[in-house]
């Protein structure tokens, strides 16, 4: 479905875990123009954290690679977040999205995609083994009465 893009921003950063906090802050900063509630902002930060952490942990297991996050403001107060990597890719997306499934160690809960699904309206995962993964999430923010 085509959407009218009202504004957009893109940031790229190396897949270092310290950039997880940066990505959350950047997304929250971009979303602030929609005057989100604290809960909406918290949900956005959480979903971004999960998507970026997946790229940090799984996309580039043995090296530091590039992660790109594109933020777009679409019509009807819809925020779209696209997190893209050029890493190893996901062989079985259906399995990867199952709750508790993880190829990580015990530091990972396997709940990343479940959290993204619960906190965003839509979640799309596209991946090609050896080419990378693109996660697209959308969330419509409630229009505040003051607007």
């Amino acid at each position: 479905m085509q959407h009218i893009v009202l504004d957009e921003a893109e940031v790229s950063f190396p897949s270092r875990s310290a950039n997880e906090g940066f990505a959350r802050a950047a997304a929250a900063c971009f979303a602030a123009r929609l005057d989100p509630t604290l809960e909406e902002l918290a949900d956005i930060r959480t979903a971004v954290s999960e998507a970026v952490t997946n790229a940090v942990v799984h996309a580039y297991p043995d090296k530091i690679g590039k992660i790109t996050m594109r933020l777009r403001l679409l019509e009807d107060d819809v925020l779209e977040i696209v997190v893209r990597d050029q890493g190893v890719g996901i062989p079985d997306i259906k399995k990867a999205r199952e709750p508790l499934f993880t190829t990580g160690n015990e530091e990972r809960s396997g709940m990343g995609f479940t959290i993204m699904e619960s906190f965003m309206d839509t979640l799309q995962v596209r991946s090609t083994v050896g080419r990378g993964t693109t996660v697209t999430m959308r969330r419509r923010l409630a229009r505040r009465t003051s607007q």
């Binding site: 875990s17 310290a18 997880e20 906090g21 959350r24 604290l38 809960e39 918290a42 949900d43 930060r45 959480t46 954290s49 999960e50 952490t53 940090v56 942990v57 709750p99 015990e106 530091e107 990972r108 809960s109 396997g110 709940m111 990343g112 479940t114 959290i115 619960s118 906190f119």
Partner: protein, 101 residues
């Protein structure tokens, strides 16, 4: 991000503070593991009041602590959970495994 421990009888309270994300959770997990294996408390209470952010890395941390406490014959609960962290724990159904207060 840090872990501060206070003990009252057989109950140990570990107050976690800062962001519990993948970046911060690793160190915190290691610290908690050490605390549990050294102190062997009967009851461990994780005080989350100063947690500024938590994602699914926090779920892994809680489940790790629960496993270790069960192994040592003790119990675990999480208290003073901020709203954002609560939403993450609820979405994952962690309350079925660890008492959340």
């Amino acid at each position: 991000m840090s872990v501060t421990v206070t003990s009252r009888g057989s109950c140990l309270t570990a107050a976690l503070s800062g962001d519990i994300d993948h970046h911060g959770a690793r160190t915190m997990m290691r610290e908690l593991e050490e605390i549990i294996s050294e102190e062997l408390p009967r009851r461990l209470e994780l005080d989350l009041s100063d947690v500024s952010f938590m994602d699914s890395s926090g779920i892994a941390l809680l489940l790790m602590a629960r496993r270790q406490m069960e192994h040592a014959g003790g119990t675990l609960r999480a208290v003073h959970i901020p709203a954002q962290a609560r939403r993450v724990l609820d979405a994952a159904g962690v309350g079925r495994l660890v008492p959340l207060e």
